[in-house]
Symmetry: C2
Subunit: 236 residues, 2 copies
DNA sequence: CCTAGTTACGTACACCGTACGCAGTGCGGT
DNA sequence: ACCGCACTGCGTACGGTGTACGTAACTAGG
């Protein structure tokens, strides 16, 4: 009997089956898919061990045969949706390819609004994350720069996309738990903001708000941000 | 009796006292300070209503006289540490001023490692956050650009700093709850990564790892990232 | 002065992650 | 062929969480 709880382990290094005893009723992918299904439908906070087990159709504690801790379940979830990344043959224009990567990542996160909240550097080791990273590096083959710089570019782009989509969506995820609507909350916040600005203590913010009264085009803002990050690494 | 739970409200718009009834034993700042003290000392996960109440020296449910939901307690915490931002008179070189802002924000987050996890666009309305934003805009006075662009720059810089420090620190925050050390976990993860790379399926990652075997200088990486974001908005 | 609104807070509920123990199952070694 | 044991499945239980609700004490406004 191995003392499982006290030794560090990576979920991906642990074999899915060891050969002895009865065959497991589900695969690791089944578990991940059930958790993803719940997160997509009811939000990340609804992903509890009990709910996932119920969705899967087994007892709660049976989950711990597949996943040592809930943290690892999160890791499985991120890897599962990372499989949705479409990996194409890079076309030679690394800036265009990287912009395409950014847009695809954004689309993925909009399909699964809980992903930004789970993004962590430690999840970068999962199988599908490695494939994704290798693909990004392949896109950067035409760029004449050391790998260190390329990795910094990829990290910066991914971080920017994650932050951006997170700001765009986690309020929507958050509002699910609130007893009032997002529109109502925004209205109250804007009213408060207006009252603060009206005091005259923030002249530049006041100017900023009178300058641009129209609704902001999120799509265009994202487009510009991506281009700026990519161009920041282009040789002059 | 107002039905408090069903109407949206901003914590900052709610008056701290209404005049009727016994005087509150603590101020809102006392509550925030107690929560910050716990988060600094024991991590964000230790910030429970019971712990904060105990730290403050009152009953658990008394907290709800000061804060309608735990979410608002988080908002108070972020605002409380936002007061630590040093606001100087901008010197005319907006790029230098912005770099200084970035470094100061990073230092603040390193003092309070739980801040990146709580960063959310909705917290941008707190009093000290408004002061901070106005200061950033003041730094950007010499830059000839519409306020929309300036706000995009500030958002991008803040997001990058937050992401960066988060990646740097939340593993440390996370490891507090794990039954093994961060070094042990890193060793296991690196071993697994090596075994995956050894399969030859990721030639570029393999090349990247053989290229740069030395330890990475986090300070220099951060410096470069800040400079890149700032320079991306400089007129050519 | 009275009363309505507020503070303080104990109790209770539903839910969480997961340690533990037990029954059943089927492969590996003899 | 047959143990034995490692494994799966899972019920129970523990200590934690946020917070709804009810009650007692208190004080300012009419």
């Amino acid at each position: 009997m191995a003392v499982r709880g006290a030794v560090p382990e990576v979920i991906w290094a642990r074999p899915e089956r060891t050969g002895r005893g009865p065959k497991p009723a589900y695969t690791r992918d089944d578990v991940a898919a059930a958790a993803v299904r719940i997160a997509d439908a009811q939000g990340l906070d609804a992903v509890s061990m009990r709910h996932v087990a119920a969705e899967l159709g087994c007892g709660t504690m049976s989950l711990y045969n597949y996943v040592p801790r809930k943290e690892d379940l999160y890791e499985l979830m991120v890897d599962a949706v990372s499989a949705e990344h479409e990996l194409w043959e890079p076309g030679g224009d690394w800036r265009a390819d990287l912009r395409r990567v950014a847009h695809q990542t954004r689309a993925l996160m909009r399909r699964h609004p809980w992903v930004p909240r789970l993004m962590s550097p430690v999840y970068g080791f999962s199988p599908h994350a490695l494939r994704y990273l290798e693909h990004c590096l392949a896109c950067l083959d035409p760029l004449d720069a050391p790998y260190g710089t390329k990795l910094e570019l990829i990290a910066m782009l991914n971080g920017m996309v994650t932050t951006y989509v997170r700001n765009e969506l986690d309020t929507a995820e958050r509002v699910r738990a609130l007893p009032w609507s997002e529109a109502e909350e925004n209205e109250v916040r804007m009213a408060y903001l207006g009252s603060r600005i009206g005091t005259g203590a923030y002249p530049r913010m006041a100017a900023a708000f009178t300058e641009d009264a129209g609704p902001i085009d999120l799509e265009a803002v994202f487009e510009r941000a991506v281009a700026r990050v990519v161009d920041a690494f282009a040789p002059r």
